[in-house]
């Protein structure tokens, strides 16, 4: 318990100090957005054992919505973010309602197919900019009080959002609802026989996960100032699975660590090896999965014999 408090304190200090450590702030913000995305995804995979193959749909749809709202509609930053999250929430509700009735590979296939549908809508719709995506998205300000144009202000805004999402996910996992999710994950027929309408619990988990994934996408759109088709693409859905498994699904810190590793590798390796980067990341993934199945943090937790 004490060790954990110290660990989180150290991480918080690291987060607060990051802009002064010579790291490129936009890059660190991008890391935080993907870390948030992976944490949201983990709520589903790690804590409900549902493997969604189409989580980029929520990430991307929310990014497009926020981008469009603040650019074409002149909405404020916070309103734009909320608008994006609302869309990913509704999308999660619609897709989740269909998917949670199925299990295992069928669940995965439905999430995949419907995410492809979202992808094509984003490709064709008039307000998404098609192949070009949305460009020049302004960061705006927090309710007209704090200007987010500068990297420092934006960084702390994103950091605060990440911290809030991280705390929220911890809370969800340790809530009365989280207890039911755990029971369903451990023994679904038994949970049903105790009178739980398990589909409803799975759907709520799905919607929460989709909404938080959406928030991550919207923030990324604001940080970088653009949204492209790659944000809703199958490749991004694959990346988030990779991040979560690499870092350790079902652990709190694992997905964030996985996101940092994958995004950093993509960033630095692509300069060195170009298109070979996906092959190399794939190879690293295979090696990691073979050597420690539980992911980095999962393996550390096992060695320590407790959770972090």
């Amino acid at each position: 318990m004490k060790a954990r408090t110290r660990l989180y304190a150290a991480l918080a200090i690291l987060g607060l100090a990051a802009p002064w450590l010579g790291l490129y702030p936009v890059f660190v913000m991008k890391l935080l957005c993907f870390a948030m995305f992976a944490c949201a995804f983990n709520l589903l995979l790690g804590y409900t054992k549902m493997l969604s193959f189409g989580h980029a749909a929520y990430f991307g749809a929310s990014a497009y919505t926020t981008g469009w709202l603040v650019t074409a509609q002149g909405w404020g930053t916070i309103a734009g973010l909320l608008g994006g999250v609302a869309v990913s929430m509704l999308l999660g509700l619609a897709i989740g309602a269909i998917a949670v009735r199925r299990q295992g590979i069928y669940f995965a296939m439905i999430t995949l197919a419907l995410a492809q549908l979202v992808f094509f809508v984003c490709l064709q719709a008039p307000f998404t900019g098609g192949e070009n995506g949305l460009q020049g998205i302004p960061r705006g300000s927090v309710l007209g009080i704090i200007d987010l144009g500068g990297d420092a202000a934006m960084y702390y805004f994103v950091l605060a959002a990440f911290a809030a999402v991280f705390v929220l996910i911890r809370r969800i996992v340790h809530s009365p609802f989280g207890q039911v999710l755990k029971a369903i994950r451990e023994n679904e027929p038994r949970a049903i026989s105790l009178g739980y309408q398990v589909d409803r619990y799975k759907l709520l988990a799905f919607v929460l996960s989709a909404s938080l994934a959406g928030l991550a996408g919207s923030l990324k759109a604001l940080v970088l100032g653009f949204v492209t088709l790659s944000d809703v693409s199958q490749a991004t859905s694959g990346d988030v699975i990779l991040m979560t498994l690499l870092g350790g699904s079902g652990t709190f810190l694992g997905p964030a660590l996985g996101a940092i590793i994958v995004i950093s590798l993509q960033e630095y390796l692509s300069d060195l090896v170009g298109a070979w980067v996906s092959v190399m990341i794939g190879a690293i993934f295979v090696v990691c999965v073979m050597t420690f199945r539980r992911g980095f943090i999962g393996e550390i937790e096992r060695r320590l014999g407790r959770r972090v």
Partner: protein, 259 residues
């Protein structure tokens, strides 16, 4: 005596056909309020399938299920539990990585209606601990409250399963081989436990152990190849030539031996 009581659960011509194979073949069974009703029969007779039909884990091919006079044939499994019919499983069903206390609490939690609260701390569930400990005490597990279910012995797991089931205050308990896989002492203990909890409830149980059946069951139905071949008190059923035939001599000695 049991025959005078009102029926709580009735099935009418219940049939379940799997591809080209009829596992439950026109079963009409009546469970009366307050009794311990044992369902016995050789392996593969269709007992578990019958339970799955009653709890809607399987849809019947034809026939009807009535609970307290209401047709429940088309309901969902979770609705069945809400009506007060709670089952256990042939393979012991606990939540392994929850503590014994948490296992029971999960059942209590649904009833108090906090199960969708994702924004509250699980500490808000501590109001249920008193009742949970009480239930654990009923099955003599109070000293294991904070042990993970996975770390309990098999007999204690079965007891925990029973405590979790009781948390829902079911009117009708469906127990699928509650003593299977238990050591000799545990069998007697669980049997007494069932008798104890059945005091204000109705129990329908699948049971292979004839000593248990003889000592606690009020009524027995014998299932063979999906059909009920005999029903009644232990003495009546044990003398039934068809039953003796079904158990092919081996069981008849077992039946007589324990009678």
């Amino acid at each position: 005596m049991a025959l005078l009581r009102e029926p709580i659960l009735e099935t009418r011509d219940l049939v379940k056909a799997f591809k080209g194979f009829v596992a439950v073949d026109g079963v009409s069974l009546c469970v009366r309020r307050g009794e311990i009703h044992a369902l016995i029969g050789p392996n593969g007779a269709g007992k578990t399938t019958f339970f799955n039909l009653l709890t809607k884990f399987l849809q019947p091919t034809s026939g009807a299920i009535l609970y307290r006079g209401t047709d429940i044939t088309r309901e969902q499994p979770a609705d069945i539990a809400r009506r007060g019919i709670v089952r256990s499983f042939q393979i012991c069903a606990v939540f392994p990585h929850l503590t014994a206390l948490e296992n029971v609490r999960v059942a209590l939690q649904r009833v108090v209606g906090s199960s969708f609260q994702f924004w509250r701390s699980a500490r808000s569930l501590s109001q249920l601990h008193g009742r949970a400990i009480q239930l654990l005490a009923e099955v003599r597990l109070e000293d294991w409250a904070s042990t993970l279910a996975a770390d309990l012995s098999y007999g204690r797991k079965r007891a925990l399963e029973l405590a979790t089931t009781l948390a829902l205050e079911p009117e009708l308990l469906l127990l699928d081989e509650p003593t299977q896989g238990l050591g000799h002492e545990d069998v007697a203990r669980v049997a007494q436990l069932i008798k104890h909890v059945a005091a204000h409830r109705t129990v329908l149980m699948v049971e292979h152990n004839m000593n248990v059946v003889a000592s606690i069951a009020d009524t027995i139905s014998v299932l063979q190849r999906g059909r009920v071949i005999a029903a009644g008190t232990y003495d009546k059923v044990a003398r039934d030539p068809q039953v003796i035939e079904a158990y092919m001599g081996t069981a008849s000695t077992k039946l007589a031996g324990s009678g």
